[in-house]
């Protein structure tokens, strides 16, 4: 009988865990993780993150903030630059810490994107958020819309930064209800990476300029004996390549005012059928994630892939002979989804800490730092003064990535669910199509889900 009581108690305790989650250990490290994936809005796995006493630090902030202009204080800076670009970012932050004359110290904490989203949301609610974070333009509607981040309308006035030096579209992507919620940090769109060695072996001289050419090129490169695929499209954890493909083929995702789905159309159906036919022909990988495709590229087993600028450093480190070309075009020309990463100041940040954050944002947006970031990572400059710099104009990578001005378009501006529509509706849709589902049915189903999500905006 005693044993029975004991078992009953133990069972009860374990049951409690089902609601509180105390039997599962902490979220583990990432199975996937594309190089510099901080910019991809889609599904990412996260690695265990040392909680670097952020709560404590935030408390210290409160007590040590004595100067109204932000001098002499430490602020926390969270971001998801887990790739090699994070090293460059850290160097620049360290340089700021040493050089700034106000005694401001930026304490940077880099964590995987999913972890950042998790920690940031709960820290904002509990008043322990850092004074500075990096977020994407697809996050601004959610965080700005519910007041989780502060409007930064007075940034240009306070810091004396020249507003006219910024590309207008980069600034506009962070405007919600007439308020400037974030200040740009970098921008990028999607590009076609190709393996020059595989191109040479197949006797191909130049990168494809249209999707049709891409399919033909892929067919020539594919070599099942060597496990080489012509092209790969991620089904999760990558850039939203399908958005670009739909738009370039004349299809649409939203209605003009972003209130309804416009997904069901002949153009989009043809696009999905086109992708499926490449998979059926065996020239396109099946069910691969962004991380899988990174691995394939690094192993010389993939001819072409669509990705952002952050892929460059990984390819260089692995000594891959690669080229970067503009994204292929369709019947409606070339279109690549443009994304902007920006600085945000979470709710609850004191005026002093905000002033210190402003100083760092202003420092970042000087021609000198903007140029350094572009030269070392290849990101296209969004400051006109940096873009006009002769060294920048001669840099091959920056030049390749600067086509953002030609074909970059924003996605789902003003929608809180823009990122979720990509990661939870459109990515699963293309995953199913690539796995062999009926494109028409998938399109209809995804469209219904988008409508449902938009009605809750």
């Amino acid at each position: 009988m005693k044993r029975k009581v004991l078992a009953a108690i133990m069972t009860a305790v374990i049951l409690m865990g089902s609601l509180t989650g105390c039997t599962t250990s902490a979220p583990g490290a990432g199975g996937e993780g594309t190089a510099g994936e901080e910019n991809t809005a889609a599904d990412e796995s996260a690695a265990p993150v040392e909680d670097s006493a952020s709560g404590d630090a935030a408390e210290q902030d409160e007590t040590s903030q004595t100067h109204a202009d932000g001098s002499g204080i430490s602020i926390q800076f969270w971001n998801a630059f887990t790739g090699s670009d994070g090293d460059v970012l850290r160097e620049i932050v360290n340089k700021f810490n040493e050089e700034n004359e106000d005694g401001i110290t930026i304490e940077m904490d880099i964590m995987p994107g999913a972890t950042l989203a998790e920690k940031l949301a709960s820290s904002i609610t509990t008043g322990t958020a850092p004074a500075l974070v990096l977020q994407g333009n697809m996050d601004v509607a959610l965080y700005g819309g519910n007041g989780s981040i502060l409007p930064l309308d007075d940034f240009f006035e306070v810091t004396g930064t020249d507003k006219n030096d910024f590309e207008q579209s980069a600034l506009d992507s962070f405007v919600i209800d007439g308020h400037q919620y974030m200040i740009p940090m970098q921008w990028f769109t999607q590009y076609l990476y190709y393996n020059k060695d595989l191109f040479e072996e197949a006797g191909i001289e130049k990168a494809p300029e249209t999707w049709e050419e891409l399919a033909q090129t892929a067919a020539k490169i594919t070599n099942p004996d060597k496990n080489v695929f012509g092209v790969g499209f991620p089904v999760s954890g990558g850039v939203a390549w399908f958005d670009s493909m739909f738009l370039s083929n004349g299809g649409r995702i939203f209605s003009d005012d972003n209130t309804q789905s416009a997904l069901v159309s002949d153009e989009n159906l043809n696009t999905l059928k086109f992708v499926q036919s490449m998979v059926n022909d065996g020239v396109c990988t099946k069910g691969t994630t962004g991380a899988d495709l990174d691995n394939l590229m690094m192993a010389d087993q993939l001819g072409m892939v669509i990705n952002g600028p952050w892929m460059v450093n990984g390819l260089k480190e692995n000594e891959i002979n690669f080229g970067v070309a503009p994204i292929p075009g369709g019947q409606a020309g070339q279109v690549g989804i443009a994304e902007v990463t920006g600085f945000a100041v979470p709710k609850g940040t004191s005026d002093e800490a905000k002033a210190a954050a402003y100083k760092f944002i202003a420092y970042w947006n000087t021609t000198e730092i903007s140029k350094e970031w572009s030269m070392r990572n290849g990101f296209p400059p969004y400051l006109k003064s940096a873009a006009a710099d002769p060294e920048i104009q001669e840099n091959e990578m920056v030049k390749a990535f600067s086509v953002i001005a030609d074909y970059g378009v924003p996605f789902g501006t003003g929608l809180k669910s823009a990122a979720t529509i990509n990661s939870d509706i459109l990515f699963p849709m293309v995953e199913n199509v690539i796995a062999g589902s009926d494109p028409a049915a998938e399109l209809q189903q995804a469209s219904d889900k988008i409508d449902e999500m938009l009605s809750a905006e």
Binding site: I14, S18, G31, S236, D292
Partner: protein, 297 residues
């Protein structure tokens, strides 16, 4: 005053509460209070930012019933739990029976089988996803070299992903079940086996007619704890497949995490599914509990 207090609390029937206090405090803080909070939040319209908090009644529950992703996750969770627990208990039982002796080999083998149990699921998940990776994995490579089968990608193929997650979990956990059952087997009086042997019972007969009936309480304990644990499966899915491919491995707790702690940060809906999960766990484990422990009496 103090001596009076001492006298009161040192009484045998009172001192027990002092010893229990730390556990009770922890249980309250990390189990009972969150449990009550979950139930309360489940009837609220509440996101992680606490913006627009409203009473929602049963709306979150109704939403779950109409949500195909919820049903898919429920199906995956039950499938995982049933297959994983049965495999784990059967394998644990067979190995426990074989290794219950005190010979050096038995003791060493038991230690080896227990090693994965003490490793973290996250670490094991990463190791297995590297080993089984379709492009850089060692196991698909050898399968290709030896058997000429190409294109295997265990965690990425919708046909094999769930099976692979289950196999990995069984591999990690059966040592735990095994060690509990070994203790159970060792506790069975040897007279029973000797008597059976004299009566001419074979080893198989001994196993079915002595070992298993005598083990029922231990088996019941293993079944219930494993069932409850595996209905809450999360870590291995999070680390290896992220719920994919095609949501074939998306389980309830993983879905709860996706809703509550990533965009859309909907804690109300996530809590409602947690409460439904609690009901599912009760519905599955209570019958097992009564069946097993009734049998003991």
């Amino acid at each position: 005053m103090i001596s009076k207090l001492k006298e009161y609390w040192y009484r045998q029937d009172k001192v027990a509460y002092i010893f229990l206090a730390p556990s009770i405090v922890i249980l309250f803080m990390f189990a009972f209070i969150p449990l009550v909070c979950s139930v309360v939040i489940s009837v609220m319209n509440l996101d992680i930012f606490f913006s627009d908090v409203r009473f929602a009644g049963l709306a979150n529950f109704l939403k779950a019933f109409g949500d195909e992703r919820f049903w898919n996750a429920l199906k995956n969770t039950v499938l995982f739990a049933v297959v994983e627990v049965s495999l784990q208990v059967v394998i644990g039982l067979l190995i426990a029976n074989a290794l219950s002796g005190t010979a050096l080999f038995s003791r060493m083998a038991r230690s080896v089988f227990f090693v994965p149990v003490v490793c973290s699921m996250a670490a094991i998940g990463i190791v297995w996803s590297l080993l089984l990776d379709g492009t850089i994995g060692m196991i698909p490579y050898f399968i290709k070299e030896w058997f000429g089968i190409t294109g295997l990608s265990f965690f990425r193929d919708s046909g094999t992903a769930m099976g692979t997650v289950i196999a990995m979990t069984v591999w990690k956990n059966f040592g735990y079940t095994m060690s509990i059952l070994v203790v159970g087997i060792q506790a069975i009086p040897t007279d029973y086996f000797e008597a059976a042997k004299i009566d001419g019972a074979s080893r198989v007969q001994q196993f079915f007619w002595i070992t298993i009936p005598q083990l029922l309480p231990s088996l019941g304990f293993c079944l219930i704890t494993n069932l409850i644990g595996s209905l809450q499966v999360f870590d291995q899915v999070y680390v290896t497949t992220g719920g994919g491919p095609q949501r074939k491995t998306e389980t309830l707790v993983y879905y709860i995490y996706k809703i509550g702690f990533t965009n859309p940060f909907d804690l109300g809906y996530a809590s409602a599914i947690s409460v439904l999960l609690l009901i599912v766990i009760l519905a599955i484990s209570l019958p097992v509990y009564f069946k097993m422990f009734k049998a003991e009496e």
